[in-house]
């Protein structure tokens, strides 16, 4: 009887550990993966703008936008919606500047976007700075 109780409690604890840390880990991995993807794509767009290759930059902008629409849905369950809104605004601004071929503004927006992506990726990392 007593032994059965101990086993039950240990099993419940293991399920809870699996649930809390499992969900946390899933969120962390998903955010990191999607952030890396977005960062690389924005980086590519930045390079095309610097080369003034507007055709490639516009193609890249469309690609980023398509990816963003998918990632946005995934993020909605994991990240503060205000952060997502900020990213979305920046993303839209960057697309507009690329469309208008405004290299200075587009480059500034790329830099802002990269910083926002880095911030989101770092925000939930299990490091001392984030814990305290």
């Amino acid at each position: 009887m007593r032994y059965g109780f101990t086993v039950k409690v240990i099993i419940s604890l293991l399920i809870l550990i699996f649930l809390t840390f499992g969900v946390g880990l899933y969120a962390l991995i998903t955010i990191r993966r999607t952030c890396a993807e977005l960062y690389n794509e924005v980086d590519k767009a930045e390079k095309f703008i610097l080369q003034e290759n507007w055709i490639k930059a516009k193609e890249q902008s469309t690609l980023i936008n398509n990816k963003w629409q998918k990632i946005r849905k995934e993020w909605a369950m994991l990240i503060d919606h205000r952060e997502i809104d900020k990213m979305h605004e920046s993303m839209m601004r960057m697309a507009a500047y690329i469309k208008l071929e405004e290299d200075d503004d587009a480059l500034v927006e790329c830099a802002v976007l990269k910083e926002l992506i880095k911030h989101i990726a770092d925000k939930d990392s299990p490091v001392i700075q984030n814990i305290f």
Binding site: V9, L13, L16, I17, T20, A27, M77, L78, D80
Partner: protein, 230 residues
């Protein structure tokens, strides 16, 4: 709409968590349990009203607290040493009618607090107290001196009377069949008992049960004239 759905989800989660944590959560809280209860209510309230925060950000901390609570409770059950560290130890505040100042100071309990607690327990003089123990949940247990203890049936040498477990049989016109069989009464005999009390229909009964003396008690629903049966 979204807020309402989120509220229902979080409310359900908090109810489940509080149920898993055990009945002690509602009544006598240990210090660590009180801390967890306060934190859970706060954690659930924030994502409830702020739709910008993902639901998961509210659910993970609640589940983590549940994890911590079960771990501490489990340790408390398994080890006496852990129990005394987590919940503390009961401390004697009055020993043989004399206040233990050292323990009073350790518990940051003032003489006024002590007197107040004694008065709540109908004791006005410290010298009437044999022992007063401050329990780990903050309640004061008082053992009065023998001469000041309430008289018991045993002291008066009254014949022993067996007390039985009171059972509710009908609530709001509905028979509780499990309790009925526990009391060893068939539906037919229940109807007969009710008939002797002038009740012909079970749906008329507001409450019926067997009290600790073994007597059947029944009360009908309020009639327009406020009549009832006993």
């Amino acid at each position: 709409m979204v807020t309402a759905i989120r509220t229902i989800i979080l409310y359900a989660l908090v109810i489940v968590v509080m149920r898993i944590m055990g009945k002690r959560q509602i009544g006598q809280l240990q210090p660590f349990e009180l801390a967890i209860a306060i934190m859970i209510s706060e954690l659930a309230a924030v994502p409830m009203q702020d739709t910008g925060i993902p639901l998961i950000n509210g659910m993970i901390p609640i589940l983590t607290l549940l994890l911590a609570q079960i771990t501490l409770s489990f340790l408390s059950i398994k080890s006496i040493k852990a129990r005394s560290i987590i919940s503390g130890k009961p401390r004697i505040l009055i020993n043989n009618g004399k206040i233990n100042e050292h323990n009073l100071r350790l518990e940051m309990y003032t003489v006024n607090d002590l007197m107040e607690q004694l008065r709540i327990k109908d004791i006005c003089n410290i010298e009437d107290v044999e022992y007063a123990i401050l329990e780990t949940n903050g309640q004061l247990s008082v053992l009065p001196k023998y001469s000041k203890s309430p008289v018991k049936a045993e002291d008066l040498k009254l014949p022993e009377k067996k007390q039985i477990l009171p059972v509710d049989i009908i609530i709001d016109g509905k028979i509780l069949y499990e309790n009925l069989s526990q009391a060893g009464i068939s539906i037919e005999s229940l109807r007969n008992i009710l008939r002797t009390k002038g009740i012909n229909n079970i749906s008329e009964v507001f409450f019926a049960g067997i009290n600790s003396d073994g007597n059947f008690f029944a009360q009908t629903r309020d009639l327009p004239h406020g009549e009832g049966n006993n």
